[in-house]
């Protein structure tokens, strides 16, 4: 690049726009070329205040720690104690979030079941119904009840260990699903009663109820059909967590699944993923406050999801009041999604390791988010299950390490008082003090 003109006068350094970045410009060029919005999988990629902005303080003179490896730190959790005759007992408070057969291959669903089972936790169906693979390999299976009702039938409902009424999803609060024609194989088409190869749109609202009063009656129907045996969860996106939690409790939920904007989806518009919803860190305290105001904290269990990656994230969620967490994207990565060994193939698809998110196109080199028989052969469900079990065990050990350091003999005993925040935003959202202070924005009595 020339730095001076012919007269020797220096050029100014070429300046990239902070508004029209290369990323943005590529979005504009893609839109201009295709006439359709960008569809992708995964959750929000933008940087948002997160659990990384919180730290545990650990023990000190005023609090003493528990001895690692010798003093017990319990991780069990029971979900559905409010109304269900058979609540779900989990060994660890990390569950596998709902992901559909269709979005994922049959072997990938099997691996999720195997891994969750070996770690003592539950897995969850998704849009498209329950497959024999996941029921057969998941001793604790949560059946999602979705607006589309694809594959929904009362036999599977009665086989479920819990029912999750999906009202919203963190990646797309207020939006429905989408499965492009490439992934509508014969089996997927049959399960969903749709022609093969068409773009399958899932509705954003349930077809037979609207609003909290109807939801209460819908829950009554589900309980009657299943004999009041299994817990009923309600999954909501991180939109208005205080009111949604309040209404879900009043409608009769046994548990609430709250999904922040980092939570993934199989496919939706990028603009939706990045611009609708709230970060996971921002939604937990209002939801816990709603439960406390109703006297239902720890009686109606709260399962938090959306960008949970490590035992530290688990511990922070628990400290802020969650009873359990759910993981989706992290579980897929544990199975082998976005693994560097497929870099050449990611490059051939116009992507790179860590950024591959065209799950809806069905060309996943790792054989996980595909219905292509040849690609599916690359994925071994037994090995995948073993990897997921290992990962869940590591997360649990990490969370226990932190809890013991805070002097807690159960993960549920972690509390907001164990935390400080690194940023003003995180302090305001988590309602824990900014590190080095005893203050957070909005603290009662502080005047700010």
């Amino acid at each position: 690049m020339k730095t001076h003109d012919a007269k020797g006068i220096p050029h100014t350094t070429p300046r990239q726009s902070a508004t029209f970045t290369n990323d943005i410009n590529s979005d504009i060029r893609r839109a201009a070329a295709t006439g359709i919005y960008d569809i992708r999988g995964g959750g929000a990629k933008r940087k948002v205040p997160s659990f990384d902005d919180l730290l545990f303080m650990g023990a000190s003179i005023s609090r003493y720690p528990l001895e690692g490896y010798r003093e017990k730190c319990d991780t069990s959790v029971t979900i559905g104690t409010r109304f269900a005759k058979n609540p779900i007992e989990l060994d660890i408070p990390i569950t596998i979030a709902g992901m559909s057969f269709g979005a994922l291959s049959g072997p990938a669903k099997e691996a999720l079941g195997r891994g969750a089972d070996a770690a003592g936790t539950s897995t969850t169906t998704g849009d498209g119904g329950m497959t024999p693979e996941e029921r057969g390999h998941s001793s604790k299976l949560v059946y999602q009840y979705l607006p589309s009702r694809y594959g929904m039938n009362p036999d599977d409902l009665r086989k479920a260990d819990a029912i999750e009424v999906v009202v919203g999803q963190g990646a797309k609060p207020g939006g429905g699903g989408m499965l492009l024609g490439q992934k509508i194989s014969d089996r997927v088409a049959e399960m969903r009663n749709l022609p093969k190869g068409i773009d399958q749109r899932s509705a954003c609202r349930h077809p037979d109820w609207t609003g909290p009063d109807d939801l209460e009656i819908k829950i009554l129907e589900l309980r009657e059909i299943t004999g009041w045996k299994v817990p009923i969860y309600i999954k909501v996106a991180g939109a208005r967590p205080y009111y949604d939690t309040t209404l879900a409790v009043k409608a009769g939920a046994d548990a609430i699944v709250l999904d922040g904007m980092q939570g993934g989806t199989a496919a939706t518009q990028d603009v939706f993923i990045e611009h609708v919803g709230q970060p996971t860190l921002a939604i937990i305290r209002p939801a816990v406050k709603a439960l406390q105001d109703l006297g239902m904290h720890r009686k109606v269990q709260l399962i938090l999801s959306g960008g949970i990656r490590s035992g530290a994230d688990v511990a922070k969620a628990m400290a802020l009041g969650a009873d359990a967490v759910a993981i989706g994207t992290a579980a897929l990565i544990a199975l082998g999604d976005n693994d560097p060994k497929w870099e050449a193939e990611y490059n051939a698809l116009g992507s790179t390791t860590g950024a591959y998110d065209d799950w809806h196109e069905g060309q996943d080199p790792a054989g996980i988010t595909t219905q292509d028989p040849e690609l599916m052969k690359r994925f071994d469900p037994i090995e995948g299950g073993r990897r997921l079990r290992n990962y869940l065990k590591v997360m649990t050990l990490e969370a226990q390490t932190i809890a013991r350091a805070c002097g807690k003999n159960h993960l549920h005993n972690l509390e907001p008082e164990d935390l400080v925040a690194l940023t003003m935003e995180a302090a305001a959202m988590a309602k824990v003090p900014l590190a080095g202070t005893d203050w957070y924005p909005g603290k009662p009595g502080s005047g700010y």
Binding site: T34, R149, G181, N193, I217, L220, E224, T226, G227
Partner: protein, 227 residues
Amino acid sequence: MQNVDLQEIGLRDLNAMLHEQSSDTNQTAWEIDNPKGAHAIACGLDAPIEVTVKGSTGYYCAGMNKQATVNIKGSAGPGVAENMMSGKVVIEGDASQYAGATGHGGLLVIKGNASSRCGISMKGINIVVHGNIGHMSAFMAQSGNLVVCGDAGDALGDSCYEARLFVRGEVKSLGADCEKKEMRPEHIEILTELLAEAGCDANPEEFTRYGSARNLYNFDVDNAAAY
């Protein structure tokens, strides 16, 4: 005949008794007195029994029905026979919103009128309405047959897939990607059979068939206005 007074026994015990019936039960006929608009009556049945509800029902009567025949001697609240898999549900009066929503199979007969969203997301169920149906009926209807002997409201068959919609009277408006279709002999045959099964003496030749124009099956920017 098993007679049950719902106000005396309560919903839970009623449904539990009905759920206990197996395929070889000899308690095949049930009458339910005093429904008084209760919700979730006779939902989740899975046996070849005949249940007659002597009055009007609330939400989700006969929801997810399999095998059973449920007769409602009154009107039905929202979501009657929702997600029905098989069997037959007959309503002597009118049906509220979402009748037969997402149903996979079986026959739903409404002798009066049906409100909005009748047959929404239907997935194989057959629905015969002797009277009229409300707006947005057969929205995203995937498969099965919706027969309307009277008129249909606005946006019939919006975004529907492969369901067949037969209307004898006027259609106020069609929804996105729904169009009038040719009535071929096989459609007359289907219609004749359904009308007979539903106890309706309407002439099949008087009906018009509607269905998907299939323009929205795969995204095309030139159809963006319809999305």
